[in-house]
């Protein structure tokens, strides 16, 4: 598994090596339990080589907040993977008519919601976070990495998970 980190004040627990492990554990759990898919850690070179060939991405973002601590988890995945996850989640036959964009976005949003919630439960189980309704946007390429970026493959297709932390107001 690969990650990049940048210095952040007041939130050491969320960008620690343990938090990175917890993020991968959350993704693997969501992939296996709800999407019957296999998640594997990726090294940067093989990830970006595969990612460079992806024509269209979907970026699902869930913001979280607990008192002074605010941030967001973004899942960037190829549209092709989104459709595969949709089929696995719903039991849809690939020969059936394609699902609507709204439904695929809803599903990708729920995927990111589950990853974010499962990760927060692992790293801060004594705290209750408020999560926003997921937002899902199409993208032509991967965006900039957050404070932490985790590189994973789900069923051999790349997915990047970015943790964005907002500076703590009055706590710097």
């Amino acid at each position: 598994m690969s990650s990049t980190k940048s210095p952040t004040t007041n939130v050491p627990a969320l960008v620690s090596p343990e938090a990175v492990e917890a993020m991968f554990d959350a993704v693997r759990s969501v992939a296996e339990h709800s999407f019957f898919a296999m998640a594997e850690p990726q090294d940067a070179s093989s990830f970006y080589e595969t990612a460079g060939q992806v024509p269209k991405w979907l970026v699902a973002t869930v913001e979280f907040e607990q008192g002074w601590l605010m941030g967001a988890v973004s899942c960037s995945l190829p549209e092709r993977l989104a459709h595969r996850l949709f089929d696995a989640f719903t039991g849809r036959d690939p020969a059936d008519p394609a699902p609507s964009t709204d439904l695929v976005h809803d599903l990708v949003g729920e995927f990111s919601n589950m990853v974010c919630g499962a990760w927060l439960t692992r790293v801060a189980s004594s705290r209750t976070f408020t999560l926003t309704h997921p937002s899902v946007e199409p993208a032509r390429a991967l965006g900039a990495a957050g404070n932490l970026r985790l590189l994973v493959a789900i069923n051999d297709l790349p997915i990047a998970l970015d943790l964005h932390l907002q500076p703590a107001q009055g706590n710097a």
Partner: protein
């Protein structure tokens, strides 16, 4: 039995609905709502026996809805199940105080939800799913 599913994800509601149909529970109707406020409106209009609700939702979250339900005698016999990504100890303690019978953490396999539904139909709840 009339069942209400409250979740802001249409896909998650569809998945839960599919599992309910596969479970061995007597179902007269399955109703849906996308947030706590809509859920309360459905509860007022229908005789619901089982509520399956998410926590984090826009407009009114699941915890706020459950607090409203706990204050109303009319819904005393309503079986309440939380299905949420929020597995915090604080939320589980709060759920226990709000008469929630089972607490299912997302992600979950369809089999786990099916077992919870079957046990609720038998007036029991899986030990691992208790808040």
């Amino acid at each position: 039995m009339q069942i209400l599913i409250v979740d802001d994800s249409a896909m998650m509601r569809a998945m839960i609905k599919r599992v309910i149909k596969l479970a061995d529970v007597p179902v007269d109707a399955i109703l849906e709502a996308s947030n706590g406020a809509e859920g309360l409106a459905v509860l007022r209009q229908h005789d619901i026996q089982l509520l399956l609700t998410d926590i984090n939702m826009p407009v009114m979250n699941g915890a706020q809805m459950l607090r409203e339900i706990a204050m109303n005698e009319r819904w005393r016999g309503l079986s309440r199940v939380i299905i949420s990504t929020d597995g915090s100890t604080v939320r589980r303690e709060e759920a226990a105080e709000l008469d929630v019978r089972c607490y299912l953490e997302k992600p979950f396999s369809p089999e786990v939800l099916r077992d919870v539904l079957n046990e609720i139909a038998d007036n029991e709840c899986a030990g691992t799913g208790q808040p």
